[in-house]
């Protein structure tokens, strides 16, 4: 006679090792580590403190937005507007701070601007039933244009009375670790818990897997979608503020084409473009691999013109792997 506990315990007779090694995430992480090792041996400049510091910071920006992107992709959508949301948020904070607004007021304002883009995306997708690809392609164009209007398409490098604070927040470091990396770590931790342990996280995966089932079981799918695109835009807005502080100046081409890098990071990290799968940790590991590869291209003296080729190839290969995996199961 088996007890209820036996039945519950008896799922998936597999060891810890076989479970870990069957995850795409594990192999991507191994690939990133191998790439780092190879670069340390092949070049003198990779393992220097200065280079690692730069890689870490770049990777943090991509990682932060990739976590938001993973949220959208896991729900079965896509958000192409993140790159433009980055520049809009950076422009809002730099224009208002240049006008004398303190950081503590300008920062929430920048996030609010980003959130509005996300809510607009979400409302059009959820309530108007428009395809996410088209909606976010529209806001991709609109948000960047708005940033140009705001700044009159000029470079802003004077952030008013709180100038040094913004530079410190985005470009500074504590205990030798750049601040954006702290933000990424905190965000990854919070979102991992949210994905696994909250209704919001469960319902998000349910919508991505079978939207019809989610509707039939009474999950508020429309409100969920608005909040999901809101989260994605917020991560982009956060990255925008940090990038403004890191660069010390903001131009309207900030974050251009970033959506592709971010989508690549999310997909490489295991987010399924068909929906229903994705993790915050995966987004971070995917961003790490992409950034290490990008850095290696520069250090190995390969023209930066090739970067787009690599990122494009990465997206296609990651999706191809996913196809093969699903085909086998």
């Amino acid at each position: 006679m088996t007890t209820l506990d036996d039945v519950i315990a008896r799922s998936e007779h597999r060891s810890w090792i076989s479970r870990v090694s069957s995850r795409q995430l594990f192999w991507v992480f191994i690939a990133a580590v191998l790439a780092c090792l190879a670069l340390s041996i092949l070049t003198d400049s990779f393992a220097t403190e200065r280079n690692l510091f730069n890689v870490a910071r770049n990777f943090a920006f991509v990682g932060i937005i990739a976590i938001g992107m993973t949220t959208v992709i896991a729900s079965g959508g896509i958000d192409l507007s993140v790159g433009s949301t980055v520049v809009l948020s950076a422009m809002v904070i730099s224009v208002t701070m240049e006008g004398g607004m303190p950081f503590l007021l300008a920062f929430p304002l920048a996030l609010l601007a980003a959130l509005l883009v996300g809510v607009l995306n979400g409302v059009l997708v959820a309530y108007a039933g428009m395809p996410p690809f088209v909606v976010t392609l529209g806001t991709l164009s609109a948000a960047r244009s708005l940033a140009m209007v705001l700044s009159d398409n000029k470079m802003i490098w004077n952030f008013g009375p709180d100038h040094d604070l913004l530079i410190w927040v985005g470009g500074g470091s504590t205990l030798g670790i750049p601040h954006p990396l702290y933000v990424l770590a905190a965000l990854a931790l919070v979102m991992s818990l949210v994905f696994r342990w909250t209704r919001w996280g469960q319902h998000l995966l349910a919508i991505g897997s079978n939207e019809n089932a989610a509707i039939l079981t009474g999950i508020p799918v429309r409100r969920m979608k608005v909040s999901i695109y809101g989260v994605s835009a917020l991560t982009a807005g956060l990255a925008g503020v940090l990038m403004a502080g890191w660069l010390g100046s903001v131009t309207t081409n900030l974050g251009q084409g970033m959506e592709l890098t971010v989508i690549a990071a999310a997909v490489i990290g295991g987010a399924n473009l068909a929906g229903g799968e994705g993790s915050a940790l995966g987004a971070v590991v995917g961003a790490l691999l992409i950034e290490v590869i990008r850095n290696s291209l520069i250090l190995l003296g390969i023209s930066t013109f090739w970067q787009g080729m690599f990122i494009g190839t990465f997206i296609v290969v990651a999706v191809a792997f996913d196809r093969v995996r699903h085909f086998r199961s």
Partner: protein, 246 residues
Amino acid sequence: MSRLSLHSISKSYGAIHALSHVSVTVEPGEVLGLMGDNGAGKTTLVKIIAGNFPPSTGEIRVDDQPVTFHNPRDAQRHGIEVVYQDLALCDNLSAASNVFLGRETMRSLGPLRYIDYAKMNRVAAELFRQLKSETRPRDLVRRMSGGQRQAVAIARTLLSEPKIVIMDEPTAAISVRQVAEVLDVIRRLRDHGISVILISHRMPDVFGVSDKIAVLRRGELVASKRADQSSPEEVTGLITGAIEAA
């Protein structure tokens, strides 16, 4: 006292009348076989009872009390549960998560609320045992057989001790042995005093478990009578229109 009674339910989309003046009652512990050809209005009727959308006109009563449903949660609150034709399962979630989808059990840790997976697994395992199914609560639905998926969908309806369970084509896509199991489950529900509305194309299944049979044709109710006073031949005639009404 009727468990569920529909009074003159109509539903129209513009000029199209999906349902016109359908009235039917279900008693406690009664199995109603709802039959009709494709497009006869069965699914529309089910969705109205389940709260997916309201009828254009007409009244629904549960235990003789008039009710209005704005969404599926309202219907669930009145004890109405549905097993959908495609089962409405999420492949990427565990069996237990699917059973509790939209109604997850939560625990509190100070101000934080999180999902109580341990309790969900326990309750789901207990439900699967009641259904005599070998489904394991922590397994992903993706890897399950048709019968196990069916068990997950039925277990979901039992979660809230329902009064009425509606099953939309539960035997359409499963093996012969599994059909027998599902019919057994329907009898078990009935023995617990739960009313079942069974929608099916398969004549032997409907006559095997139903107490009463209702037939829809082009949105109209053409028959509602005791199963033992009807026959598969008569019902076939009613569905196709060879027999006008009975």
